[in-house]
Amino acid sequence: MAGSTPVSATVSAGGAPGVLVTPEARRPPISPWQDAWRRFRKHRLAVVCSGILITMIVAVLVGPLFYRVPIDGIDFSVRLQGPSWDHPLGTDDLGQDLLARILYGGRISLAVGFAAMFVAVFVGVLVGSLAGMAGGKTDAALMWVTDLFLSLPQLPLLLLIIYLFRDALTGVVGPEMGVFILIVTIIGLFNWMQVARLVRAQFFSLREKEFVEAARALGASRFRLVWKHILPNALGPVIVAATIDVAAAIIAESTLSFLGLGFPPDIPTWGRLLFDAKDNLDFAPHWALFPGLAIFLTVLSINFVGDGLRDALDPRRVK
């Protein structure tokens, strides 16, 4: 999509129907994954962004092991200071080190992003497979529900649900874990629709295909048919949708924290850091800038990687 998508190999899209090109004849046979990798590499921004993304993930995972400044070391003598050698990204109003807090908060933000994505993919595959397999009225009903979820006012509902359930859940599993489970589940439950549609579409397009017919004729069980033949074919588009889901979940979690309604105040997620920083913009802009940049870079990288993956795994959708 962005810039580097090649002009399609057959010229027909360019207005010259009927010209045959046979690129396969010239290239040695390669596996679909190699082919996908070749297409992904062509998307330079996606390659750069996967580098950035991997760096960020490694940084938040192992960074705290090397950068051993405590996230809650209060020191009023250095409060609200800009970047310096002691505090590379500066300090907040309690003199806490922002780099340490951003590294720690990144773990939470990324963990929420990936966990919510898994919930979304799980629900999406489940609903999509059910609809695709059952067809008829079940399918119509499930698709109605899918469309309904697509038109839900997500943020208000998210806020409402967290407002109603937070206390009950934190009472059971503790404030940090309770909020984590709640946020991950709900964000996941608001993001499965795209995956469900993709999986269902795959069912409908493959149901009549010869190899599925053949597998059915050979007596493959329904579950095996789905697991071995249909889902692998839906994998490419689902991976693309899942990537975008990670970004959506990170934004959703950050939004909640930014509104002061996400994780408890002592857990410095990126959104929470912004929430704390927003009243000190005039004298400590670095406080808001760095966590904001962290969110932006992560989301941008994921979006570009998703775009590259779309080129690589879903070549039919030329966008």
């Binding site: 529900v145 839900l152 943020l155 208000p156 950050s254």
Partner: protein
């Protein structure tokens, strides 16, 4: 009329969330010394807390639909009044930001798509990615840093009590609306630019466009009458699907700039445990989303003659 089933569906989800919620949402009243106990009992009775669930649902739904949303625990006025006071502000901010988004997305998306893979197209694409990867809450803060603190051009807190009159009054209102509208509009504009671009790219290679060229029409007429006009059909659907995100962005933006709309009302209500207000605002947002979906359906049918004859 798909709006009515959707409304029912959303109301069922809302009600389920409420019914599943642990504890009594009206517990707050018991501990709130400002609310006399008889009011609490009256409220409980009016909601029929002990009736079978479906009866409670229908009663709740009819109450919601008739605008009987109770009254705010905090500001002690009827919730419907509270919302009616705030709704116009939200609608004006959202409306102008959407117009801005459209004014950016349509020309830019069309220009990019008619020059695919050119420098312009690549710049637009990259900017669009940046635009919708920047969360509204961060752009809001960046704008405040830049326009209010650094340049000192715009006020960063929305003022409802502007004393000026005449042109001055208008000018002040426009000035304080610039940033919220820009934040929302640029974000949506970025997303829509991509929609427009991809829709135009899809249409531009269709046979009927070649037919239009073969008629000897000027390229501008081919683009506007035979490409953009057709590309608007899928764009309307995609835009309708974005409405929940638009309202989410509105909540965040109102909160950042303290715009007195229903979004900031929702956040205030949650922080103050003001359940009736929270419920009502969520319900209003649901209605707004459905309304815009309905509007999109009508526009869709109007744009695509194949629909009405289906």
């Amino acid at each position: 009329m798909i709006a009515i089933p959707s409304l029912l569906g959303i109301s069922v989800i809302l009600f389920t969330v409420l019914a599943l919620a642990p504890g009594d949402p009206f517990e707050e009243l018991a501990t709130n010394p400002a609310i006399p106990p008889e009011v609490r009992l009256q409220l409980r009775a009016s909601l029929g807390m002990d009736d079978p669930i479906y009866i409670r649902y229908f009663r709740w739904l009819f109450a919601m639909l008739q605008g009987e949303w109770g009254f705010s625990f905090v500001s002690r006025i009827n919730v419907d009044q509270l919302i009616l006071q705030r709704l116009p502000t939200t609608l004006i901010v959202i409306g102008s930001s959407q117009i801005l988004a459209l004014a950016i997305a349509l020309p830019v998306g069309v220009l990019a798509a008619t020059r695919p893979y050119s420098i312009f197209d690549q710049v637009v694409n990259t900017l669009a990615f940046v635009g919708f990867s920047l969360p509204t809450f961060f752009t809001g803060l960046l704008f405040i840093m830049f326009f209010s603190i650094w340049l000192g051009w715009l006020p960063f807190v929305y003022n409802t009590n502007i004393t000026a009159t005449g042109w001055q009054w208008w000018w002040e209102h426009i000035r304080q609306s610039i940033m919220p509208v820009l934040v929302l509009g640029l974000f949506q504009g970025a997303a829509w630019t991509r929609f427009v671009r991809s829709a135009v790219l899809d249409v531009i290679r269709l046979d009927h466009v070649t037919t239009a060229r073969a008629k000897g029409l000027p390229e501008s007429r081919v683009t506007i009458r035979h490409v953009v006009r057709n590309a608007l059909i899928p764009v309307v659907t995609l835009v309708a699907l974005q409405m929940p995100i638009v309202f989410g962005g509105a909540i965040v933006t109102e909160q950042i700039f303290r715009v007195p709309g229903i979004g900031s009302l929702l956040i205030t209500a949650i922080l103050a445990n003001d359940t009736p207000v929270i419920m009502a605002v969520t319900f209003v947002f649901a209605c707004l989303v459905i309304f815009f979906n309905l509007l999109a359906d009508i526009i869709y049918g109007w744009l695509d003659p194949r629909i009405s004859y289906r």
